[in-house]
């Protein structure tokens, strides 16, 4: 078989062209997948590094001193709380106004504090622990005994209280135990000095552990200055046993770790030893360890970002707390009402243009007009809506102005796609119907529109897509109220607008991404169901 030179050349060209096409296809797919997967990943999973004054060691049963039994803090099961730092606990109990759980759990839920009646050694010790230098505020409710405390906490939304460890054995699922974090790392001031433009930044819990195992011997190894590490263990008395237990679970203590017997001795040792580091309870340091430097600990917090709670709770504090339920509902309302206005007008307009209008110059101008409008940036529509509907018609910033403006915006899209769909219906369908003695209206209603409906539906879906993703128009016409839309003139917020606001106001990246993921899902859902619907329509028609 002889292949001519020309054939070889053409074949080579085809190979090269194929290569290019494949390259661009793969490039496009990678970019698309990367964007979508990145947003979805950030939407579902969050990972933040947060600095705390305390280590991430949690205690469920808190030993306060040798004389009273350990205390357990309990919360209502509806409070999505895992652990609290000691400072947070004290704030909750002592702040002059009623706190909300928002800063700790992002729930828009009031904190209901409970205490046991004073007078017993246990209660006095615990109350002293939670009030610190302040006093327990007037909002705290007193429960008669541990059993009624469990009852009250389990029946009051947002409740927090405490019980002796012995009473905590049979609480079951009625209440949830909140762990407390109260172990701080203290260092000698020399550790934090700036030498040659180097200063030690916060430590991670793992680094702290390594220090007490003797694996880190110089502060240089954790980003600090050239200074030997001098670990000092807390006193051996009972409350501190938990630190010994947690920092060195196997009981191995390297020789260079210095042991102390009392709190005073511990503080003194830290103060006088350059390069010293030790672990102690936060309150002890605040009260007796004057002049000691509390080293911040960097904790990695990660988990599910987009939870069911985020979907079903109403937003609060500009979206920083709560969820996005009202915003999702607002979005669907906007879509619904926009379609209610735009679909009849658009479809009927297109029917007129295709079926009735004389195909002359006027129709050409109309067609050019709709095409131009379909391509105009939405911010221009926003400007128009804000001047015309909001100001000139005096509708104000609110739902009706936004609906009308978005209707204006998507109308050209619906008209154009419907026109194309109607034009694509073979003329033979119309002839067949007319030849049977049907009128023009009957022909359009019973043959042309059903045959064109997949195309018309596609146009409507494109319009829904634009509505869901629309932001620029809505900034000027819908406002930014994140509550449920109450009436035509009520300001509201939809998902895209919520995303924009949360990002612009730097409220929370995690929640912005979660909202973005929801947007992606809505678009995905709409597209999927439309594809299904169009497929079914086509099957019914036998295509």
């Amino acid at each position: 078989m002889i292949i001519s030179a020309h054939t070889k050349k053409t074949k080579r060209q085809e190979q090269i062209a194929k290569g290019f096409i494949w390259f661009f296809v793969i490039f496009t797919i990678i970019i698309l997948a990367w964007i979508v997967l990145y947003v979805l990943f950030r939407g579902f999973y969050f990972r933040n590094e947060v600095n705390y004054d305390v280590n991430d060691m949690k205690e469920q049963q808190i030993i306060l001193n040798e004389d009273v039994e350990p205390v357990v803090f309990i919360v209502h099961p509806g409070v999505r709380l895992d652990d609290l730092t000691m400072q947070e606990l004290r704030t909750i109990y002592t702040k002059a106004r009623k706190e909300k759980w928002g800063p700790y759990t992002q729930q828009d839920l009031r904190v209901e504090t409970f205490v046991l009646p004073p007078g017993t050694a246990f209660t006095d010790t615990v109350n002293g622990f939670i009030e610190g230098p302040e006093e327990i505020n007037k909002f705290a409710t007193t429960a008669a005994d541990p059993q009624s405390m469990i009852g009250k906490v389990s029946s009051t939304r947002g409740a927090i209280g405490y019980i002796p460890a012995s009473a905590a054995e049979d609480i079951g699922k009625k209440v949830k135990i909140a762990s407390i974090r109260r172990i701080s790392a203290v260092v000698h001031p020399s550790v934090k000095e700036i030498v040659n433009n180097v200063q030690m930044q916060e430590l991670t819990p793992e680094q702290l552990e390594d220090i007490f195992r003797g694996e880190i011997e110089n502060w240089r190894e954790v980003g600090g200055i050239d200074l030997p590490v001098r670990p000092i263990l807390p006193p051996k008395s009972l409350p501190y046993s938990v630190i010994h237990e947690k920092i060195l679970p196997d009981g191995f203590i390297p020789e260079e770790v210095r042991q102390t017997d009392t709190l005073e001795e511990f503080c003194e040792a830290i103060k006088t030893t350059p390069g010293a580091v030790g672990l102690c309870f936060y309150n002890n340091i605040i009260e007796t360890g004057e002049g000691l430097h509390i080293e911040e600990i960097r904790r990695v917090e990660s988990g599910m970002n987009l939870t069911i709670h985020y979907l079903i709770e109403a937003p609060a504090r500009s979206g920083a707390w709560g969820g996005i339920s009202t915003i999702i509902i607002n979005t669907f309302f906007l879509i619904l009402f926009t379609l209610l206005f735009s679909t009849p007008i658009g479809v009927l307009g297109a029917i007129y243009l295709v079926e009735y209008a004389r195909q002359g110059r006027l129709v050409k101008i109309l067609r050019l007009g709709t095409e131009t409008l379909a391509g105009i940036p939405s911010i221009v529509f926003g400007l128009f809506g804000s001047i015309f509907f909001v100001n000139m018609l005096g509708l104000g910033i609110g739902f009706i102005s936004a609906t009308l403006t978005v209707t204006m915006m998507i109308l050209p899209t619906i008209i154009r796609t419907t026109e194309e769909a109607l034009k694509a219906v073979p003329i033979s369908f119309r002839e067949g119907s007319l030849a049977l003695g049907a009128t023009k209206l009957q022909t359009i209603a019973r043959v042309v529109i059903p045959a064109a409906s997949p195309g018309i539906l596609t146009g409507i879906i494109l319009a829904v897509g634009r509505t869901v993703g629309e932001t620029a128009v809505l900034i000027y016409t819908l406002g930014s109220n994140y509550e449920l839309v109450r009436g035509p003139s009520s300001s509201a917020r939809v998902l895209s607008l919520h995303l924009y606001n949360m990002f612009a106001e730097a409220i929370s990246f995690d929640r912005t991404f979660a909202t973005g993921a929801i947007l992606i899902f809505i678009v995905l859902l709409v597209n999927y169901s439309t594809t299904k619907m169009i497929g079914r329509m086509n099957r019914m028609a036998g295509k």
Binding site: R430, E431, A435, G437, M540, A541, G542
Partner: protein
Amino acid sequence: MEKNETKLKIKVDNLDLYYGDFQALKEVDMDIEENKVTALIGPSGCGKSTFIRTLNRMNDLIDDVTITGNITYDGTDIYGGYDVIELRKKIGMVFQKPNPFPMSVYDNVAYGPKTHGIKNKAQLDEIVERSLRGAALWEEIKDRLHKPALGISGGQQQRLCIARVLAVEPDVVLMDEPTSALDPISTSRIEDLIDDLKKNYTIVIVTHNMQQAGRISDSTSFFFEGVVIETGPTEEIFFNPRNKKTEDYISGRFG
């Protein structure tokens, strides 16, 4: 003598038709007799399709059409006194390409009656069955009445279109090259069907296929450049043409 016995169904008198400035039909005269098959033959672009479409006023759909002359159906001028909807009910049409609507077989046949106000389910069922039987399709399709019409074969689709026309109980059935898109077997079934339909309907058929015209028609008209060159009983046209052009066309010398 025989001619006097048959009744005249449609009479075309001095028909001129213009598309804008272009004259597509020139002084056409034609008599279409009841319960006969009239075939219109002629080369492409000769005006036979245009002519057949004037008979049920399908040319009304096109802008810029001017029609002069007279067409009477049962003695009434169809461009004068006759309502176009009533006319199209009486004079049905089957098109070149099968054009069933994108709905079920049943709905296709019931479309006409429904459009004309019949809502009774039992009555519709009866019409659908009768029409499909009339179009020799019932036995093949009775189990698939609710399947999409676009899913059946081309020949069946065309017979469905005939059934759809029969469902509105017409008087005249116009057929514009009904078999040109079909295979020989489907074609022969449609031809048999036309032979059957002749008993109850007057049929006008446009065809490119000379043998077909010869097989099925009672009278034939030869169109050329918008003019009816010759018209007469089929045998005469085929075996004893008076005009040279007719003879040339029929013997395949042009067209």
